[in-house]
Structure formats: C-alpha cells, structure tokens
C-alpha cells in the first residue's frame, strides 16, 4: 500500500491527527474513533495495524496497554513528493502579491522562469516515483 493510500482512509487520518498531539493508548484512540465513526474495536485495531506496518506509527507496550505515537517518516516522504508542486501555488501567490503591492515587495531571485502553467516540457523518461 502506498503512503497516499494509507491516508486515503478517513479513520486513519483521524488517528494520525490524534497521535499528533502525543502518545495515546489503543484504547483511548479506539474510544474516540469508535464514537466518531461508529466502527467496532477490531476495526480500529486493524487500522492501527495498517499504520504500524506502514511506518506511520510506532508502538510501545506499557503493561497491558499499547501506546501509539506518530512516526513522521512516511509523512515526510509525501511532503517531499508534494515539493515538486509547491512552486505552482507559491508562484500564483507571488504573482497575486505582486499585483496587490503594485511593484513593491520585490521577490528577489525568482529563478526567472515563466508564470504558472506553461513550462518547458522535459524529455520524457524520468519516472521519479
């Protein structure tokens, strides 16, 4: 399963969000998620398993509990994939800002490329994924 697939599920996204605030036991996560999504305990447990097995979460046993925490590694990969597209909206925003500021706020060294859209096409054959 690809990292984007993992985050495709709303329950898993919610779990990640919960863990973002700090460690939580499976039970605590379960209580919230079961209430919010109306799914069973095994359902939650399975989602936790997916997150575990795909590196989105780490577990630490504490007595009979399992404390889950976010592992940011795969999130970082997604962030890296998105990096390529960041120029698209920042360009647009820059352009907008320039319009508004009327010639002030000169973005230095804007890597002189053309505006959003329309860019030189690269010779095909660079997978990158």
């Amino acid at each position: 399963m690809h990292a984007f697939d993992i985050l495709g599920d709303p329950v898993r996204r919610r779990i990640i969000e919960l863990l973002a605030d700090g460690e939580m036991s499976a039970g605590e996560v379960g209580a919230i998620v079961q209430r919010e999504f109306g799914i069973s305990q095994p359902g939650v447990s399975q989602h936790l398993r997916v997150l575990r097995e795909n590196g989105f979460a780490t577990v630490r046993p504490q007595g009979t509990r399992r404390l889950y925490a976010v592992d940011p590694t795969p999130l970082q990969e997604l962030d890296h994939w998105l990096e390529r597209y960041r120029g698209f909206w920042s360009q647009r925003l820059d352009a907008l800002g320039t319009e508004i500021a009327r010639g002030r706020i000169r973005r230095q060294a804007e890597s002189g490329e053309g505006r959003a859209g329309r860019r030189p096409r690269r010779p095909a054959g660079d997978a990158g994924d």
Copy 2:
C-alpha cells in the same frame, strides 16, 4: 473521494507528474501511461476523468484534442494538512544533529519518558479535517 485517495493510485500520480512539466493532450498522456502501466486507453481516460472531476486537472479543447494541465489547488490542501506534521521531522533532525555534534548519541530510555516526538496533549475535540 478524498484528495489522498486520488493520489493513492500510481497511474494518477504518474499523470500528475507528467502534467507537472506542462500541458499535454490526453493522447500524449495515454501513450506514456499505457506503455508504462500496460492499461487500455479507456483506463487512462477514466483516470483523467477522476483527476478532472476532483480538481487536480483542467482541460482545454484544441481541435479534436484535449489539453490537460495540473490544477494545484487540491495539492495545496494536502500540503496544508501535512503542515501540522512538518515540525516532527525538523525536530528530529535538529535533535539528531545536536547529538552528533556533541559527540554523544545517547540512547534514550526505551520505556521511559521524554521521547522525541512528545508534545502536550490537547483536549480532544478538534477535528480539523
């Protein structure tokens, strides 16, 4: 379908990557994707439809062709979702760098308190999604 679901499919990710280099006709995209993934023309067309209908791509007819281009809006949303987690890896890298610089990578207690990603837990109930 959630934005993350859209990117969960490798064909769609590839299409987005292709369009990142500039406008391309459905046929051009199709030729590459069909070769790389071994799927049919309608298969590609359906993926283009999904991208279209979910705001990842825009179309512009030109004669009998349809020129597709990236629309970064939903990508920006994903980027925004990830923002919340950006602190995680920058923290870790900072910490790691510091440890190394001091020349003493101290193994943190596995079961103890004070792990890297630790943050104060917020009172539950902020969906944000």
